[in-house]
């Protein structure tokens, strides 16, 4: 009886190739599992069931051979003497249910063991090795799918009458290809991961790679499938028991008891309830346990926080951002196209809130190109998303004001916000191809965008789509409109994305790392295009980037962000030549552009602190060479140094004199 420990069963599934790791991982897995109340309940239930399966036939040896009980007390409802009543022949239902557990569970375990033993290795091999083996396995699976399972089981039972093992193995053989397919398709993407290539380069043996690198990744799928299959196997076993094909007459099984109950359903409807509930409850518990075990196996290595880069674009409507007073006013907000004042953004998880933006104040004038610079995790993209009202999941604007073209975006309802987004503010993202639905042609995608923002006929929209493609310099816009997104190169896809952003004739285009994924020559073309559109349409540009070269090429003004704050803001030439914040200075000198090939690059020690782990005082002080006790004491305000030049550093006057790489303007030919 191996059902005694269902947990270790599943742990074996998660790592059957492990010589040492089963012993090393199982206890940890068990501990993680036991932290989940649902899992504890399920494990207790199955352990109880297994205990009954072992003990009951020993404690009640006469039940399986008992032809009939006291016929005078037949078909009784539960009483003190018979907890679950008596059946049509006066036998105790409770005793029969207990004793019948063994045969039922043995059937399930047999089937599950055979399915896993065949389906798992075949699926892994087909997915990992591919080629001819894969085709052969797929062919085998197709063959198995075309067979009528129940007919074959019945045929087998006619050869081996009343042989449950034969019946369950036959069922398992027919069910295994289904698991094979699922395991194979789960293996395929894992096989493409670079760490598999790295493991192969490292000369690790193939069985080792499959057991240690692939299997743990797909264990979740396998466990869920195993629990579902166990449920199906239970149903099949019960069904065969119902037809009295696998358990000879007086011996009890759950299926047989349901059959007895069904025969007497008019006289005593109660009789089908105890075995029926036992079946239903067991299947439910198997399903719940499968989910719990899967969650427990993956929680060890699953990332604690979702990576911000792969965010779903879920809209959250902030209901209560009005009534919060802006913390600092700026005189320019009347003329600016976009003005953000004292913006605070936080992400809520459970009871705690992690702040990701702190007191962000900036403005963009009409037709101006502004670069938002910083490393990942500094909050650049969050600023853009807050402006567009596209903060993910639990993202909330906690304070501050965003004004666009004289309107407070906080006052707008979702419908009005949709109108602003897309029509007046366009967005171009880093990976253009991801934003283009692959099943539609480029022309259709653009025409749809045009129709969203303008009330025009299909034909007119189509003509405008072609015109937009011409504006982004497709040599043959008609031909381009007929293409599918996957037929475009990276640069072309980015131009299509820009064309789509232009469909609403926006006054502001937000471009989030628009050239990062592109080749240098294509990058130059895209920047030229953006510059041209900016000038021609008097369109403002908010360019989010980490590349100083892009800033130097296209931006009028640069805003540097670090750990959720704006740390410096100035006109591009002056910031590049004379940074007034240590972070800007460090970021500029970390670029290998001017470095001589013999010297080490200057680096900023450590990493950007994650939101929620920001130090008190200046956020940059732990990594800063200028830091003094004053920097650690309290928050540093953004200080206006001179006209249109701000820095969040109290040592900027020391830097102004000693900035490395300071070049006078005249030297550069002005």
């Amino acid at each position: 009886m191996s059902m005694a420990s269902p947990v270790s069963d599943v742990a074996d599934v998660a790592d059957p190739g492990g010589e040492t790791s089963v012993s090393a991982q199982s206890p940890r897995l068990l501990r993680r599992l036991l932290r989940r109340p649902v899992a504890v309940g399920c494990v207790t239930f199955l352990a109880l069931l297994a205990g009954i399966a072992i003990v009951a036939p020993i404690m009640l040896p006469n039940v399986s051979s008992e032809q009939a009980g006291d016929l005078l007390t037949a078909r009784q409802l539960p009483t003190g003497g018979h907890w679950l009543g008596t059946d049509t022949l006066g036998r105790d239902v409770f005793a029969r249910l207990m004793v019948g557990t063994r045969i039922t569970l043995v059937g399930v375990v047999e089937a599950l063991a055979v399915v896993l033993a065949i389906g798992l290795p075949l699926g892994l091999a087909a997915g990992y090795f591919g080629g001819r083996l894969d085709r052969f396995v797929s062919w085998l699976a197709d063959l198995a799918f075309s067979m009528p399972a129940i007919v074959i089981v019945l045929v087998v039972l006619s050869v081996f009458p009343q042989n449950m093992t034969a019946a369950m193995i036959t069922f398992a053989l027919i069910a295994a290809p289904g698991l094979t397919r699922i395991v194979r398709s789960a293996t395929l993407p894992v096989r493409e991961e670079l760490y598999i290539a790295a493991a192969e380069v490292s000369g690790l043996s193939r069985p080792y790679i499959v057991a240690r690198h692939i299997l743990p990744r797909i264990s979740g799928v396998v466990i869920v499938q195993a629990s579902l299959l166990a449920g199906v196997a239970l149903l099949v076993q019960t069904g065969l028991g119902f037809l009295s094909l696998v358990v000879p007459a007086p011996a009890p099984s759950w299926g047989g008891m349901i059959a007895d109950g069904a025969k007497a359903i008019v006289l005593q409807p109660w009789l089908i309830w105890p075995p029926g509930l036992a079946v239903a409850l067991t299947i439910l518990v198997l399903g719940l346990l499968g989910d719990a075990v899967r969650d427990a196996t993956t929680e060890g290595w699953a990332p604690p926080v979702r990576s911000g880069r792969r965010r779903p674009l879920v809209t959250s409507v902030e209901s209560d951002r009005r009534g919060l007073s802006p913390e600092c006013g700026s005189g320019r907000s009347q003329t600016a196209l976009l003005s953000i004042e004292g913006l605070h953004v936080g992400f809520t998880s459970g009871a705690s809130t992690r702040r990701v933006l702190e007191d962000v104040t900036l403005s963009i004038n009409e037709g101006e190109a502004v670069g938002l610079v910083g490393e990942s995790g500094c909050g650049k993209t969050t600023v853009a998303m807050a402006v567009l009202g596209l903060l993910t999941g639990s993202g909330q604007i906690e304070g501050g004001r965003i004004q666009f073209d004289g309107r407070d975006l906080g006052d707008l309802v979702e419908r009005e916000l949709r109108e602003v987004r897309g029509r007046q503010i366009g967005l171009v993202s880093q990976e253009p191809i991801v934003g283009l639905t692959p099943v539609f042609r480029v022309g259709w995608l653009l025409a749809e965008a045009v129709r969203t923002h303008h009330d025009v006929s299909r034909r007119e929209a189509r003509a405008r789509a072609v015109e937009l493609l011409r504006q982004v310099h497709f040599a043959d816009p008609e031909a381009a409109a007929r293409r599918y997104p996957h037929e475009l190169s990276g640069g072309m896809a980015q131009r299509v994305a820009i064309a789509r952003a232009l469909a609403g004739e926006p006054k502001l285009l937000i471009a989030d790392e628009p050239t990062t994924a592109l080749d240098v020559t294509v990058q130059a073309e895209i920047l030229d295009l953006l510059r041209e559109l900016q000038v021609k349409r008097n369109m403002a540009l908010l360019l989010i980037t980490h590349d100083w070269g892009v800033v130097a090429d296209i931006c009028d003004r640069a805003i540097v962000m670090y750990a959720g704050q704006i740390v410096e803001q100035a006109e591009v030439r002056s910031i590049l030549q004379r940074p007034l914040h240590p972070y800007t200075e460090a970021l500029l000198s970390a670029s290998p552009n001017h470095a001589s090939a013999t010297e080490c690059l200057s680096v900023i020690p450590g990493d950007v602190p994650r939101p929620g782990l920001w130090p008190t005082g200046c956020h940059f002080h732990p990594r800063c060479g200028y830091a003094t006790s004053l920097c650690r004491a309290k928050a540093i305000p953004l200080e206006l140094v001179k006209f249109d030049r701000q820095t969040r550093c109290i040592h900027h006057d020391k830097m102004a004199g000693s900035a490395p790489g300071t070049v006078t303007i005249s030297k550069n030919g002005l």
């Binding site: 670079l194 990942s376 030919g669």
Partner: protein, 332 residues
Amino acid sequence: MSEATAACEASAPLLDVRGLSVEFSTDRHRQPLRAVDGVDLTVARGETVGLVGESGSGKSTIGRTILGLTAPSSGRIVFDGSDITRANYRERRRISTHLQVVFQDPYSSLNPTRTVRQTLGEMLRNHRLSGAEVDERVNTMLERVGLGADAAGCYPAQFSGGQRQRIAIARALMVQPRLVICDEPVSALDLSVQAQILNLFRELQRDLGLSYLFIAHDLSVVRYLSHRIVVLYRGRVMEQGDASTVYDYPSHPYTRTLLDAALVPDAEEQRRRRDARRPLENAAGLTRGAACPFSPRCSHAVDVCRTQRPAVELTSRGSLVACILTKVNRHA
């Protein structure tokens, strides 16, 4: 000629690739796609060779072919004196202690289900070491790449991109390789982290005498790290030579295009470069057969470029250039 080139000629190179071609068949009815077309390159001991090119230039395919992850269709790869062009899995396992890799994506290149200790420790599986010895070497290596031994028990998800790349570098160095193929190892990293990793690469080369084949599209990064540079376009070598020569005196029109398009973090300089930049021919059409693959976009292209494969010529500065202009200029 620099010391690196001289050293390369003095002794047999560590890696010698001759006439390497790799073809991918996309469709049974179409002609196979030639991703790499007759590439020659060498890497000397202790040398860094930068492999530069745009996407589709075949630079990553060359790296994967050397590593045995992609099969070549013709050519020869000699590593440390032995031919590994068609090495089987057993031979690959033997070479694996000398030849290692660092990939671009620090997220995909580490198995999220394995702790750092497991990831680094499994590299020594074929070395028959005791658990304590493995742990010691793992800890030493983690210290070496600047992470600290306490990182060993953590899963990759607990680290940032830069830290993950350090783990990937540590993994490559566990077996004390001679050549590390670096496939865009810093392009997914932030600027300040990139600088840390570049310094680490350089430090490790100085201390351990490593050779790198450094594949990248960022010219400033390649220039900073490489002794020699190979410029690829559509699977062919356009130009190769000393890093400083290729950068300061580019001979091939494509190398010049590439250098002109690179951005510099200086507004005035950038404006000057932008104005001086020639608009690139937009007809990025594919060439067939022997033609120079750059000819449809090249502003210097003449008829012969579209029919003949340009011979590789040695320039007066010591670079090898596959362009007929080189010959013309020298005769002029």
